[in-house]
Amino acid sequence: MNPALEKLLQQPGIWRGCEDARWVSTVSTGYPDLDALLPGGGWPLAALTEIVVERYGVGELRLLLPGLIGLLRQREGWMAWVSPPYTPYAPALAGAGIDLTRMLVVRPGDDTDALWAVEQALASGACVAVVAWVEAVSDRRLRRLQLAAETGGGWAVLFRPPGTLAQSSPAALRLKLVAQHRGCQLHVLKSRGGHPAVLDEF
């Protein structure tokens, strides 16, 4: 497609009526307000979710945890965290309800290896969820990750730095977390079959 047209269609204000509004399946986010905003009523499975954060510690994990725990309960498989920015602290995660025996931490040496690991983990079908922290990803790579997620059926979450907002993305869901003085604000930038929205949360 014409790149200028593609860019135009990525604008949050444009709603495409022909887009298929149903996802294959979703898992509840654990937050009723957010569920109401997302098509399918939850996080999209077999698809890519991109979350843009300016800084960590604003509640980005708290956002994901109920969905991850629910998914671990419903399905069998690993939950893989690839290149987390800090050390995942086992007592806190266990306290939140995560089954540590189902969790894999993957620490590749660089972004290329990290993207490869995410693709492998998604495509294998052995992971119910893959959460990855990456910086620069080419458009082609993002498509491959989306495809890998569709193949394996798991939930893929990519945390990206703020500079990447301008890049168009094949992700099914794009969110932005903006830290407020207390708590944070959630912007739904793009969702397949839904509208952009803003949620003042927590």
Binding site: Y56, L61, W78, Y89, A90, R102, L104, S124, C127
Partner: protein, 516 residues
């Protein structure tokens, strides 16, 4: 003595006692039904017609011959398809062959390698039957009566054997008969139709040329002089005359082939270990030409694993160089497997960024760790295994490329010191310790000292203490004592942080965790 029975219901007359073979009085052949043992046996013979050529690894595109003999007496034993196209044939002198194809590649026949290959293939055949017998130099015997049901019938079994051996790079001819010798003769003669009943043997063996019986040249010539070229003609000769002229063993040979005498075979003893190697015809300067050879060796290993119901969890691939040194490539797996495509994928991944230090002349493969399949090592998977059957394979694939320590799981440790309350561990292992949902999800590797004076620490702005203090004072017994007051703090940018004030030693505020 024979006994007659009144009733005979079945198609085959009831068995009689085996008559002892008397040295005198060969005039009457013992009846065909005298030995019941072989009636219930069905032998499949494999004749590897091109074994002397196929022991050398697969590259057979060019003109290649295997010769045997000494010095100037060397003659062509087998010619590759490329050489045959140029007119080279068996028994030609080497000079004649060179005249036809100046760039001919010549290999000396390697009987030791042939014997080793035969043994490896015998071990590989163990996947089809427990009773395998060697018939050097180029034959294998397999007793398959008991395997027919499992492999879906004789046709299916033969087809599978053909397909798999061809994939490994061996050309075979098979013969099926109730006696080992008959099966061998049929295989050598290239008769694909199986003989299933002993009483059909004389008729089916009759048209075979005597050359496929493996009898000595002088006997063959003598028989040819009498006008006897085929087995059937030989069978019509008077038995006493045959014994007088050639000796009793030739008569015994015919009797064994027809099932009149038992023909017990030495069972091949399956090796405990798997170790194999293959010489390369042309030395390889890059990795790409090695893959067909590696695939072939892995195929042999698969046969071995299947026949023993084992899985491999440690693999050693050796790349041998001209000076005798070996470059090792080790592969370690999370769980024993016999799935060769997966192992192949891991090897490809491991060798993807490999560069050869010297040209490779031979490949070696051995299975260093063998374990029974189907037993999950208890310590790895204490909890129910994650559903996917191949979940261990994902771990292996990740570790092959990223390194073993790059993939791990977390475990709780019963400890008050926050940094010691967890540990890296093999995936799936359960730990004991206390979950604590008041702790931050992110912990820093090393606590970061905070700026700011006195009671006003700063990190991205002035921090506001929200919860705390939580005093942790412990660890005096192992020298890493800790005396800290922990607080939950927030900064103007909206981050929630876990900080502490050091109460002993280096005073000051530190950042230890981030609430995700």
């Amino acid at each position: 003595m024979t006994r007659k029975r009144e009733k005979s219901l079945s198609l085959f007359p009831p068995p009689r006692c085996a008559r002892p073979i008397a040295l005198a009085g060969h005039s009457e052949p013992p009846p065909l039904e005298s030995s019941t043992a072989h009636r219930s046996q069905l032998w499949l013979a494999l004749h590897l017609a091109r074994l002397p050529l196929e022991v050398f690894s697969s590259h057979q595109d060019g003109a290649l011959v295997v010769v045997e003999g000494q010095g100037s007496q060397r003659r062509v034993l087998i010619a590759s398809p490329g050489a045959r196209a140029l007119g080279i044939r068996k028994h030609q002198g080497l000079n004649a062959a060179f005249a036809l194809a100046p760039e001919l590649a010549v290999l000396e026949r390697d009987p030791e390698q042939e014997q080793r290959t035969l043994e490896r293939l015998a071990a590989w055949m163990g996947r089809f039957s427990p009773m395998v017998s060697l018939e050097p130099p180029q034959g294998l015997l397999v007793e398959v009566r008991g395997s027919l049901r499992l492999f879906g019938g004789l046709d299916s079994l033969e087809a599978q054997i053909h397909a798999r051996l061809e994939k490994l790079g061996y050309t075979i001819r098979t013969g099926v008969a109730p006696t080992p010798l008959a099966a061998l003769w049929l295989a050598r003669a290239g008769r694909p139709e199986a003989v299933l009943e002993p009483h059909r043997l004389p008729a089916r063996l009759a048209p075979l040329p005597l050359t496929c019986t493996g009898v000595e040249e002088r006997v063959l010539e003598a028989l040819a002089g009498m006008g006897v070229h085929r087995v059937g003609e030989c069978l019509r000769l008077p038995r006493d005359g045959l014994v007088r002229r050639f000796g009793a063993e030739y008569l015994a040979l015919l009797d064994r082939a027809l099932g009149r005498q038992p023909d017990p075979r030495q069972a091949f003893k399956f090796p405990e270990r798997f170790q194999t190697s293959a010489d390369l015809v042309v030395e390889a300067k890059q990795l790409a030409p090695l893959w067909p050879g590696i695939e072939r060796l892995l195929g042999e290993m698969e046969g071995f694993l299947r026949s023993r119901q084992l899985g491999v969890d440690r693999l050693h691939l050796g790349l041998r160089h001209a000076d005798g040194s070996v470059t090792p490539v080790e592969l370690e797996l999370v769980q024993p497997t016999s799935r060769i495509p997966h192992v192949m994928g891991l090897l490809e991944e491991r060798l993807a960024r490999f560069s050869l230090s010297a040209p490779v002349t031979a490949l070696e493969l051995s299975a260093a760790g063998l374990r029974p399949l189907g037993h999950q090592s208890g310590c790895l998977f204490g909890q129910p295994v994650p559903g996917q059957r191949f979940s261990g394979e994902l771990l292996e694939r990740l570790r092959v490329r990223l390194g073993r320590e790059a993939v791990y799981s977390l475990r709780l440790v019963p400890e008050h010191r926050p940094e010691a309350a967890w540990r890296k561990v093999e995936p799936g292992v359960v730990g004991q310790g206390a979950p604590n949902d008041a702790r931050p999800a992110w912990m820093l590797e090393q606590p970061v000292p905070l700026r700011g004076a006195g009671n006003r620490p700063r990190y991205g702005g002035e921090l506001r203490l929200e919860e705390g203090p939580e005093r942790i004072e412990t660890g005096w017994w192992d020298g890493r004592s800790v005396a800290r007051d922990y607080y939950v703090a927030s900064n103007p940018r909206g981050m929630r942080l876990w900080i502490y004030r050091e109460r002993r030693g280096r005073r000051g505020w530190f950042l230890h965790g981030v609430f995700g």
